[in-house]
Structures are given as C-alpha cells and as structure tokens.
C-alpha cells in the first residue's frame, strides 16, 4: 500500500515513522527544505520538497498510484485543498485530513473528504472520560463521528442483567460485537446472557450513544 503524507511537521513526521515501521510504502511531501532534510536523516529517502497542493508536485510524487493521501499540515485550508486536488485530479481512493479547528470536521465531510482527524476533539473526549467516568468509553469514532465503537460496563441495576441478547430491545443502529467477561472474550449470539460487570463492545450511531448507555449502564 502506498501512502502519501503531506506536511512534515510533528504529526506528519511521527505518522510517516509509524507507517514506515509497519511496512507501508510512504512518501512525505514537505514545503520547507530544512524540515525535509531532518526527516531524510531520520527516516531515509522517503521525503520530497514541495507544495502538496500543487498538482505537479503530487504527480511527481506518484499520486496516481497512491492508495491514501493524508494531509497533516497545521492549516485547515491547505489540508482541504490537498485532499480535494488528490481526489479530483488523481482519483486517489481515500483522502484523510487533519482538522485543526474542530468546527471544520463536518464541513470537510460535506466537501468530499473521506475521513478527518481532529486532535482537539480526540483530546476532549479523552479528558471527558477521565473526568466523568460514566460507564462508557469511546474507543473509536468513524465516518466523521457518525458511528462509534464504544465499551460499556453493564451496571448491577441495569434492566439487561441476566437477559438473553435476543430478549433485549436495543436502540436502532446498535450492535454488540464482543463481551469482555473477566478473562474471557465472548462473541455474542442471541442466546448469550449479560451479567453485571460485563464490558460490552458495541458499534453504534453516535446519536444513539446515550440511549445505549442508559440501557446497559443503567444510570
């Protein structure tokens, strides 16, 4: 898989490092020659100097055969245009943008970006969970925060304790993928009974999260 990372700042650099480590073919496009040189020293010949929003630069980077283009600069407008040029001009299948201003996540989706990552929102969720433990942990958000994978702890007072999954009326657009019970991981069927203290991994639409939490956690 060939991944082009636009922007060789801290985010771009560590991302490229990890991707190289995992065996991906990676190219970083960085505007500033000094930054590019620093990356070359650490990661080898996986960097090119240029403006990633410039079609000629993306072409030279081999964008036509790229599977993913990830724009990681500190400017949202640059990340948006890089992704749009990659998609429109080079038919790149998947474009991912870092979003610096959380307000732009929905906007980017509307403008055709496949996935966005907002550090601010990620940090905010983590902090919220540490500050207000409510029995629900967001493990991953997908599709621009429309869908999420969450872990819920079944509360002792929850109405689902002791019931078979087939008897539980789940909110729409929620499914249980796994149940952690002590040492065991259970892939549930309709016959599986829930116990207090179970950690349920569920996929849910974000707007159903609180309904699902009330049902399982019981608070």
């Amino acid at each position: 898989m060939y991944v082009i990372v636009v922007g060789g700042g801290k985010v771009g650099y560590y991302l490229a490092w990890n991707l190289v480590d995992q065996g991906f073919e990676v190219l970083v496009i960085e505007r500033q020659p000094a930054k590019a040189e620093a990356i070359r020293e650490h990661l080898g010949a996986v960097v090119m100097v240029g403006d990633g929003a410039e079609a000629s630069v993306l072409e030279a980077a081999g964008a036509v055969r790229a599977d993913v283009v990830i724009a990681t600069t500190g400017e949202d407008e640059d990340n948006l245009i890089v992704c749009q040029v990659a998609k429109r001009r080079f038919d790149v299948e998947r474009v991912i943008a870092r979003v610096n201003n959380p307000k732009n996540e929905q906007l980017f989706k509307r403008l055709g970006i496949d996935a966005t990552v907002s550090q601010t929102n990620v940090l905010l969720h983590l902090i919220e969970q540490r500050l207000i433990p409510d029995g629900l942990t967001r493990l991953l958000t997908l599709q621009h925060q429309e869908i999420e994978i969450v872990e819920l702890k079944v509360g002792a007072d929850s109405p689902v304790v002791g019931r078979r999954l087939s008897e539980i009326r789940l909110p729409p657009d929620c499914v249980f993928s796994a149940i952690n019970r002590g040492e065991h991981i259970i892939i549930p069927t309709g016959q599986t009974r829930l116990e207090a203290g179970d950690d349920v991994i569920a996929v849910t639409r974000t707007e159903r999260e609180s309904e699902l939490r009330r049902l399982l956690v019981g608070v």
């Binding site: 410039e54 407008e77 307000k103 403008l111």
Partner: protein, 138 residues
C-alpha cells in the same frame, strides 16, 4: 447588491471601494486590521477582522443574505476553501475566487465557483502586448 469580500489587499480594497462608491452594500473581511487602511477614506461598508474560512465570521458578515462573494486573499487555498464554504454552506448565488495556480483554478472551476487565475490572464495580456505592432515614433 450585497457583496462579501474576503481579503483586503490591493485587489480586495479596490473592488470594495468601487462597489461602495456605486452604492452596493459591501462587507470586507481581513485577518489583519491594518489592511483596512487601503480602503477609501469615506468607505461606508462594514469591515470585519477575522478569517474568511470561519463560518461564524462569515455569518457575522451577513453572508446568509449576500448576492455575491469574492475571495481575494493572497493564498489560493484560503480563497478556495472560503469560496466553497460560501457556496456549499451558505448557498451564495455568485461566488468567485482568485487562484494563482492555473491547475488549481481549473480543478475548482467545475464546482459552481468562478475561478480567476491572474497568472494565465496576465500572461495572455503580456503575450498580446508582444504581438501588437509597436507604435511609430513621431
């Protein structure tokens, strides 16, 4: 006509002043408040400090009732993003952006945005000037 302009450089200030003089309702946005000194002294429109890619800033510029939107900062990507917000989020009927990079100007021209590329326009004018026979000296 209600016009919102992002970028109060030479071009932005010139258009804003001209539209204002002819009686249009103009709002101009720039990140740098010093830029507004380029406007006519008797400019009667609204000048807002902020970034033209921020929906809230655009809302405060009354973009919802604008007839036209012009993005003329000195950055192509800012102009293209601001123009898309004006078009896609606020549905402004006429949206134009200055884009120096000819390829980017072409890519985004199909999205309901008028892209004006000074690079090709000025090059063509200069090429035309070369073709024009020199005037005779008297």
């Amino acid at each position: 006509m209600r016009v919102v302009i992002v970028g109060c450089g030479r071009v932005g200030a010139h258009i804003a002043s001209a539209l204002d003089r002819r009686g249009d309702d103009v709002t101009i946005i720039d990140i740098n408040p010093n830029a507004f000194t380029r406007l006519d002294e008797d400019f009667s429109g609204l000048a807002i400090r902020g970034t033209g890619i921020d929906e809230d800033v655009l809302r405060s510029a009354n973009i919802t009732s604008a007839d036209a939107f012009l993005a003329v900062t000195n950055r192509d990507n800012t102009n293209l993003m601001a123009a898309q917000v004006a078009r896609e989020v606020f549905g402004v009927p006429t949206v134009a952006a200055r884009v120096y990079d000819p390829v980017r100007a072409e890519i985004f021209a199909n999205l309901g945005i008028i892209t004006i590329c000074p690079t090709t326009t000025i090059s063509n004018l200069l090429l035309d000037a070369l073709e024009t026979p020199p005037a005779r000296r008297s």
